[in-house]
Amino acid sequence: MSLKAKDINESTPWRDMTLGCAIFEPMTSAAVNTGNWRTMKPSFIEEKCKQCLLCVPVCPDCAIPVKEGKRTDFDFFFCKGCGICYKVCPFDAIEFKKDDKREV
């Protein structure tokens, strides 16, 4: 009986893997923490943010969520710390520093 993607791992026996290694659910990569790749980390300075939203589309990792038309804080589970958003912000509302690895 094949398992859901979240239950498949390197101990899964062959009978429990999905047919042809296909996946029958959307966006199962949402379970993968790519935030632990970071060496640099952005921070959101909300007071300076004019919600121009120019940072949202430049993120390769969908790490700037938008709720009700406004950008919210970074999704650090995915953010790889590339800094494109930091460079693009016209209002210095994003700072970019070495990741001190204290939070997840």
Binding site: A5, I8, T18, C21, I23, E25, P26, M27, T28, S29, A30, A31, V32, N33, T34, W37, R38, L53, L54, V56, P57, V58, C59, P60, D61, C62, A63, V66, G69, D75, F77, F78, K80, G81, C82, G83, I84, Y86, K87, V88, F96
Partner: protein, 311 residues
């Protein structure tokens, strides 16, 4: 229907984080932009050629895709999506499905300009209702930065190294957008990431919703292969456009339309100097390379202006 960034970015994401693309990669930025152009009520089938995008976005059991996705091989994204599109037509005709699906293929420049060229040409010629998006990072990046026919003149890659005898890639970049325009498909466009993403978003929308084959060539910089700090993505694309290295244009039913003319056309140095793959061109004695590069950019720009000037 004028472009509104706020409206666009409120659409539900059809592409998830947790993929394994390099930090700062231009390819997923292209993917997100293109998928955002889909109407939320429409479904899609996405095909990716073997490439950075494919191996990083569908690494078993993790798929970054919300829509159905298929990868079969390196050189056949266009043919594979043709098959899916044809299946859609016949199953709809036979009353087995009733939703609207759009068919989008992604390939890197390797899988599009070179090994994938034949199947792309075939699919365009047959008239399938599909979009082929080339995310052009100007080399075979997935295998470690080897030259493709899309690699610019003089660019340093592992199979066209800037050595003491041969100064990087010997040939100029192939003009694939022009070649696909010559296939007389309804919509062809060259684009990249600029400002509020209006250019790529509107072009993606037109590509998807124009019936028949459409081709989008997206400059998608690669921080590793092009050797620039990952955070500079938007500076690189802006420089490409302002120097006319990568002009923004469309060919709609054979009519060439220039979308952007720089107020001040910058010299190519402004683009080349930002990237390590061109750094040897700035060595003393190599001025002729920059001159040759500039001459080629100017020639192509004039050629484009001519095409766009025709009624």
């Amino acid at each position: 229907m004028s472009y509104n960034l706020k409206e666009e970015v409120q659409k539900a994401e059809r592409f998830s984080g947790g993929h394994r693309m390099c930090a700062g990669c231009g390819s997923p930025v292209a993917v997100r932009s293109v998928l955002r152009a889909l109407k939320p009520e429409d479904k899609a089938v996405v095909c990716s050629a073997t490439s950075c995008l494919e191996v990083s976005t569908f690494l078993y059991p993790y798929t970054a895709w919300k829509d159905s996705f298929i990868h079969s091989a390196f050189e056949n994204a266009a043919a594979t999506i043709s098959g899916a599109e044809t299946a859609y037509n016949v199953l709809k005709k036979r009353g087995k499905i009733d939703e609207t699906y759009k068919f989008i293929a992604f390939g890197g420049d390797g899988g599009t300009y070179d090994i994938g060229f034949q199947s792309l040409s075939g699919a365009m010629e047959r008239g399938h209702d599909m979009v082929y998006v080339c995310y052009d990072n100007e080399a075979y990046m997935n295998t470690g930065i080897q030259r493709s026919s899309s690699t610019p003149h003089f660019s340093d890659t592992t199979t066209s190294p800037a050595g003491t005898v041969i100064p990087g890639k010997k040939q100029v970049k192939k003009d694939l957008t022009k070649v696909i325009a010559a296939h007389n498909v309804p919509y062809v466009a060259q684009t990249t990431f600029i400002g509020n993403f209006k250019d790529i978003s509107e072009k993606a929308h037109k590509a998807i919703y124009t019936p028949g084959p459409a081709f989008l060539n997206v400059m998608a910089p690669c921080p590793r292969g092009w050797r620039y700090p990952a955070e500079d993505l938007m500076e690189i694309t802006k420089a490409a456009v302002e120097t006319c290295v990568w002009p923004l244009f469309e060919v709609i039913d054979g009519k060439w339309i220039l979308n952007y003319t720089p107020k001040k056309k910058l010299p190519v140095e402004e683009y080349l100097k930002k990237q390590g793959r061109f750094s040897h061109m700035f060595k003393k004695g190599n001025e002729w390379m920059i001159e040759a590069y500039q001459a080629e950019v100017d020639r192509k720009w004039e050629d484009l202006l001519f095409n766009c000037s025709r009624a």
